[in-house]
């Protein structure tokens, strides 16, 4: 029974983890994109510079979301100590 509770806790943590990460990354990317598009609209000649700077920022933010996805999937499918904990809990 406790092993089942452990599994439920893992799945809940994975769900909340990816939800919070997606929320934060969505906000961050949206804000960056908004500022970049406004900048290009005001000064179209700056398009190249703004695009490159934004690209690096977006890649950085996106990788955070991918990290959260990986951690969530590890929690559900490949928890390193899952067998040991399940054995302890019975």
């Amino acid at each position: 029974m406790e092993a089942l509770q452990f599994f439920i806790a893992c799945v809940t943590a994975a769900g909340f983890g990816i939800a919070i990460a997606a929320f934060g990354c969505g906000l961050g990317q949206g804000m960056g994109l908004k500022a970049a598009v406004e900048g290009i609209a005001r000064n179209p000649e700056s398009s190249g510079k703004v695009t490159v700077t934004m690209l690096i920022g977006l890649a950085m933010i996106e990788s955070l979301c991918i990290y959260a996805l990986v951690v969530s999937l590890i929690l559900i499918y490949a928890h390193p100590q899952a067998a040991a904990i399940a054995g302890l809990l019975g």
Binding site: S47, K49, V50, T51, V52, M60, S63, L73
Partner: protein, 128 residues
């Protein structure tokens, strides 16, 4: 070459260099599963970065703006494909999760390196 262009060139090149060196190191010094994680993780983020660059360049060039819908669709397709690949890699236990995690850090490490190189240039320029 301005600082933005320099950063992008550095990151683009160092992504591949880091991926190659990390893969070699993985094969020499770690288990095959860990090395596979490093390679797959590195490939996923590096290809993602190149596709993101191409989409953004097409989308934000004032001379020929892409339709917002096309940009959105491309973005979601890329993200869903990455997610599905990562899901199968972890679900089927093809790779070591820690190796995959490290492999996925290739772009972040490249960007950090590029920033440090630019910072070093700036500090030395200030000192002179």
């Amino acid at each position: 070459m301005n600082i933005q262009q320099r950063l992008l060139t550095f990151v683009t090149r160092s992504n591949w260099v880091l991926l190659a060196s990390v893969s070699l190191l993985g094969f020499v010094a770690t288990s095959p599963s860990f090395a596979r994680g490093l390679i797959f993780g590195g490939l996923i983020v590096t290809i993602n970065f190149h596709l993101l660059a191409r989409t953004l360049k097409n989308a934000l060039r004032p001379s020929r703006l892409a339709s917002p819908n096309v940009v959105l669709v491309k973005y979601y397709i890329r993200f869903i494909i990455s997610g599905v690949i990562i899901f199968f890699l972890i679900r089927q236990q093809v790779v070591n999760p820690i190796g995959l995690f490290l492999g996925l850090s290739v772009v972040v490490v490249s960007i950090t390196l590029a920033t440090m190189v630019e910072l070093k240039k700036l500090i030395f320029k200030e000192a002179v």
